[in-house]
């Protein structure tokens, strides 16, 4: 666990890197999430003070966007495309298989903390669906066997 002084130091360093940028809040939130894996609640007042916003405003922005998370994920994040072109190729069955195999629903993390399952609406791989993203790595034409293999390979 990080103490709040450490959090403050890293957040301030990120804020310094974004000084002078027009409309810097999204890039700042991305940088914080990249660094911490999520947006620690302790970071919000620091960002707010720096950008001359209220804490509620920063929280409002953060919560508007699906990408930003308040809590850490599991060790791995599995994103499955739920959009139309992947549905045409069996994405619904694939998602059902994944939920069964992992024993969790969308947005949940397995009890051992290993995998978080997230829906995604299109990865631009619509001519080779169903598509997935595993810890940032793109995978096309995923079927149940390939998915089990991917999940089995996660440590």
């Amino acid at each position: 666990m990080l103490d709040s002084a450490q959090t403050a130091e890293r957040v301030t360093e990120i804020l310094d890197r974004h000084r002078g940028m027009e409309g810097a809040l999204l890039p700042i939130l991305h940088a914080i999430q990249e660094d911490f894996g999520h947006i620690p609640q302790d970071a919000l007042p620091i960002i707010a003070r720096d950008l001359n916003l209220s804490r509620a405003e920063v929280h409002g922005v953060m919560s508007f966007y699906h990408d930003f998370r308040e809590n850490p994920t599991g060790n791995h994040v599995l994103k499955l495309c739920r959009a139309e072109a992947c549905k045409a190729m069996g994405a619904d069955d694939l998602a059902a298989h994944a939920r069964r195999e992992l024993g969790i629903d969308w947005h949940e993390t397995t009890r051992d903390g290993k995998v978080t399952l997230e829906p995604v609406f299109c990865l631009g791989l619509c001519a080779c669906g169903p598509a997935a993203m595993v810890d940032g790595k793109l995978v096309g034409r995923v079927d149940a066997a390939k998915l089990s293999q991917i999940v089995g390979g996660l440590k």
């Binding site: 991305h30 990408d67 631009g124 940032g136 096309g140």
Partner: protein, 510 residues
């Protein structure tokens, strides 16, 4: 030995990085002097990963490559099990008219030398010798309309910004590309990013803007990386910076990353997001062209609109305008997706019928079963049944059939598709992605899901309720998310009424 292997996301998702590694290690093992170029994709996704090898006869294509196919690339190429012949002779590629995508797949995306050797910068150089008004007139004359979906004439938008008086103006490239079945923006940014940069610089000259942003969705990590590198290449070469190509005004570009909100593809929501706010849609007027980013005059254009400016400037408006149908001028990068045999990107003049696109080019379904429906224009587009397959691809032609072409994505479904489920999904997607500003969108979409569920349970009285709800959403929504979600829903009900009959209930009970 010179080999091309795409860095394109689709190729990578099908194993291109592993093939690249295998080629490199085998070359090292055998002491072969290898030049491996990671290019854009040629757009034939069913052949990815597609390797190309330089030979005296031209570039030879091999695909879809597996690691087992790699050793044979070092042997007799004609005998290679995946040999496809010369790339440029492949019929799917040969029949296209590639204007905007002319260099994608051909060149090293980050090589300025490749870029200029294949006609890059000619458009910008010509624009530098013209007045802003002349550049605007050329783009207007080309007939180019916004490729982001709404089809607004690009030249007219530029004229408004060009004539606006302000201390700062902006060019914002909309690379949010959230529609399912679309990947043209991604492929262009990954395969020929300098074209987009050149197009934005031309827009900057034409409009008197000195700063550009490219807002790329976070789901596109490869495109983000390549665009960042390409901006650095352009800055080093003086294409961007204090003076465009050393004798123009200043113009620079910054890459920004979205955060997973579909609605941020809507231009005013995007501007709010760029400003660091929630991506709530703004009421219009004021038009972004007059009061856009930070209240300054701003061009917001789709990637393909901007990336078409260089070829229009290089070859002239009349060349571009010479292609097309009716009021849909030029070419359109069709993105053929879903359950389709030959899926990918196909750039061609407007005017092909849906039948030609789906059956002749796409080869029908991947499953081999009959085509049931094609959704055209992404999640806000209508489902077309086979009986409407004679519709020619054009803005007005599709509007005339209660549909839209949107960003030109087509999703093919075979006869196993359940159109009630697709109608439900359209409502669910709208509910998840609504910015929340309008009640008919925010609440209506949630009611829509519930109403579809009632129909699924056999309550056919809920069908008129769903129709009413769609009418309310159409008339009471500020933007096309709430306003157009009725297109997929109503087209599903209208064209596939059997899927909404109580018989579904009996089947489900079996």
């Amino acid at each position: 030995m010179k080999v091309w292997l795409p860095l394109d996301s689709a190729a990578v998702a099908l194993g291109a990085d592993e093939i690249a590694e295998a080629i490199q290690s085998l070359a090292a093992q055998r002491g072969v002097d290898l030049t491996l170029v990671r290019n854009g994709s040629r757009g034939m996704v069913w052949l990815e990963p597609l390797a190309e090898v330089e030979t005296p006869q031209g570039r030879m294509a091999f695909g879809p490559m597996t690691p087992e196919d790699v050793p044979a690339l070092f042997g007799d190429l004609a005998a290679h099990p995946k040999a496809l012949g010369r790339t440029e002779d492949l019929p799917w590629l040969k029949a296209q008219t590639r204007l905007t995508f002319a260099r994608v797949g051909l060149t090293d995306p980050l090589s300025l030398q490749d870029y200029t050797a294949h006609g890059g910068l000619e458009g910008l150089k010509r624009a530098l010798g013209m007045t802003p008004a002349e550049v605007v007139a050329e783009v207007t004359e080309s007939g180019l309309r916004g490729r982001g979906g709404a089809g607004f004439p690009t030249g007219i938008k530029w004229k408004t910004v060009s004539e606006a008086k302000a201390d700062r103006k902006y060019i914002v490239c909309n690379a949010d590309e959230g529609d399912s079945a679309t990947f043209a923006d991604r492929m262009l940014m990954e395969g020929d990013p300098l074209t987009l940069i050149e197009g934005m610089a031309i827009a900057g000259l034409a409009c008197g803007a000195t700063k550009g942003f490219v807002y790329i969705r976070s789901e596109y990590p490869v495109a983000i990386r390549i665009m960042q590198e390409a901006v650095a290449v352009a800055q080093r070469a003086g294409i961007l910076g204090t003076s465009v190509l050393g004798h123009g005004p200043a113009f620079d570009i910054e890459i920004r990353v979205g955060a997973g909100a579909y609605v941020c593809g809507e231009e005013t929501s995007l501007l709010n997001s760029l400003e660091g706010k929630r991506g709530i849609v703004r009421a219009k007027p004021p038009l972004p062209a007059l009061e856009g980013f930070l209240g300054k005059p701003t061009v917001v254009n789709n990637v393909i609109s901007l990336a078409s400016a260089p070829v229009i400037m290089a070859k002239g408006a009349s060349h571009y305008k010479g292609f097309g149908l009716g009021r849909s001028r030029g070419t359109i990068p069709l993105q053929i997706a879903g359950n389709v045999r030959y899926g990918g990107l196909y750039e061609i003049a407007f005017g092909l019928t849906l039948d030609q696109i789906v059956n002749d080019i796409g080869g029908g379904t991947a499953s081999g079963r009959p085509v049931k429906a094609v959704q055209v224009g992404g999640p806000l587009g209508a489902y077309f049944p086979a009986s409407l397959f004679d519709t020619p691809f054009g803005y007005e032609e599709f509007a005339g059939k209660d549909g839209l072409i949107g960003h030109a994505g087509l999703t093919v479904f075979d006869d196993s598709a359940d159109m009630l489920e697709m109608a439900r999904f359209a409502m669910e997607f709208c509910a998840i992605e609504s910015c929340g500003k309008c009640t008919p969108c925010r609440i209506g979409a949630v009611r829509g899901v519930e109403t579809v569920d009632r129909i699924a349970r056999g309550d056919s009285a809920a069908i008129p309720l769903l129709t009413d709800l769609c009418n309310t959403m159409k008339s009471g929504s500020l933007c096309a998310l709430g306003g157009f979600t009725p297109y997929p829903v109503m087209s599903a009900i209208t064209h596939f009424p059997d899927d909404f009959q109580p018989r579904r209930f009996e089947e489900a009970a079996e």
